[in-house]
């Protein structure tokens, strides 16, 4: 019954999909996998403990938290907001692109800007929509949805594709500890370095996306006007 060993994978998939507690899902998957593979209970506990200890690497990001927390207290996010508010006369697409570039850099340096609630909603969306209103006058719900969707997306692109450029990021450390545990000698510096190309490319793809957005908005606004 080789396929029975996949039950651990199944538990992880279902546990995450139904939003069961993530920590418990992973531990249950591990224990059940061990039981199915007929490992004695003491061996399971031993393997679990041993691999938990040897993978403490993945939690090294905690050492960066005191510094990041103090920077927040002294106005890091506020200065990032000042910077983007200082941009004048940009089109909707360019505002979103500039935000994506800033978010990418911030992620690569593990700077927390506050994400959707604290940056996109109060700063990026008003600026991006403001630019559209300045150009086309009143904007429809459809145009507004498109702009807001693209603004929220810029946050995700910057966050996802650039965070591993930082050596102490939890994603970087997950890659390192997983591969080292499997017997491959990789370091956080190597993973961070090889994460740079995708971060750069993500900004280029975002640039294409955001600059075509301006054309799309012009078309949508034109259609709205003729309908009136």
């Amino acid at each position: 019954m080789e396929a029975l060993k996949l039950i651990g994978v199944l538990i992880v998939v279902i546990g995450f999909a139904i939003k069961f507690d993530t920590i418990a899902t992973v531990v249950i998957a591990g224990v059940v996998t061990g039981l199915v593979a007929q490992m004695p209970v003491m061996d399971i506990l031993d393997t679990l403990g041993k691999s938990f200890i040897s993978n403490r690497t993945a939690t090294l990001f905690v050492l960066t938290l005191p510094c990041i927390g103090i920077c927040e207290r002294y106005g890091l996010k506020e200065k990032a907001i000042d910077f983007i508010r200082g941009i004048k006369n940009a089109t909707t697409g360019r505002v979103i692109l500039i935000y994506q570039a800033i978010r990418t850099l911030a992620a690569a340096f593990s700077v927390r800007l506050g994400g959707h609630p604290q940056f996109v909603r109060p700063v990026v969306v008003p600026m991006a929509e403001g630019a559209a209103v300045a150009k086309y006058g009143e904007i429809s719900d459809e145009v507004s949805d498109t702009i807001r969707g693209a603004s929220a997306a810029a946050e995700n692109y910057g966050n996802f594709y650039a965070q591993n450029c930082f050596m102490g990021a939890s994603g970087t450390l997950l890659i390192v500890s997983t591969l080292v545990e499997q017997g491959f000698d990789v370091t956080a510096l190597q993973i961070a370095t090889w994460s740079i190309p995708i971060a750069v490319i993500s900004v280029l793809v975002g640039a294409w996306r955001d600059l075509t957005l301006d054309g799309k908005l012009a078309k949508m606004a034109g259609k709205g006007a003729s309908a009136k």
């Binding site: 396929a3 996998t33 403490r56 990041i68 910077f83 959707h116 995708i198």
Partner: protein, 313 residues
Amino acid sequence: MTPANIIAEIFYSIIGIIFALVGVKALRDPGAQKKATTAAFWFILAFTFILGNYLPKWITGVCVIAIAVLTAINGVKQSANDVPDPQAVRASANKLGYKVFIPALCLALVAVVAATLGGSIPAMNWLTANNAIGVSGIVALIVALVLFKAHPKYAVIDGTRLMDNVGPVGILPQLLSALGALFTAAGVGTVIANGVSAIIPEGSRVIACAVYCIAMALFTIIMGNGFAAFSVITVGIGIPFLIAQGANPVVVGALGLTAGYCGTLCTPMAANFNIMPAALLEVKNKYAIIKSQIPVAVIMLVIHIALMYFFAF
């Protein structure tokens, strides 16, 4: 123990102390919910980080099960944090200007410089890439305290505040790596590999890259979590079909996780990135963000496959 290991243990002990302080914060907060279980969670975690390495490993195994029970019963809650006053933050931002970014830059750059030195100068070989992260955390903290003239107590206050914000999920990457180890020990990787070998023709590198990247994205779409997909798919597909065939593990690992993120962009399962922000931004169509992201995700996934093919081999 080698000097590198001793220093690593010191850093793990510091992490353990931060965990313990989050537990202490919960105990001292009169208004905290689930005080006892919250403190127990952080103290047990602290214990494994500080002493786990010197004790029989099954003890840590029991601790891991205990923390899983505590999170499963929803027993871990945030306690009150000393949140910076918005007016004071604004005033400080005005006073410091863009200098406020210096410690953050130090954090990233010191880690790179330290790891490079450690890798190239034999006398500094204690400075492994992992230890370099710890060194950068401490150097950047000192820079911040000096530059901002901040009271050192804020290292503790803000460190525990952020750790409490991150919460139990912060331990997830470590647990997933450990799960990967258990999967390998139980032979799960081999079973997946046998199944997948039907799809991948012998020696076809392009198809192997494509299958790995697409599987990362698909598993992430189903689970809503790229980290979990990474430990399963890398053990089952990445290692047998790419790394064992001579692919560079660094390139496969680095691109593998971000290939998974292409899936995150497409899935309502990743609600905190794609669905909750839609509500927050008062978008009429709750899938507006995913709709905007799908073309980019597809292009990025194709680019991942191409980069992996060209650079891993």
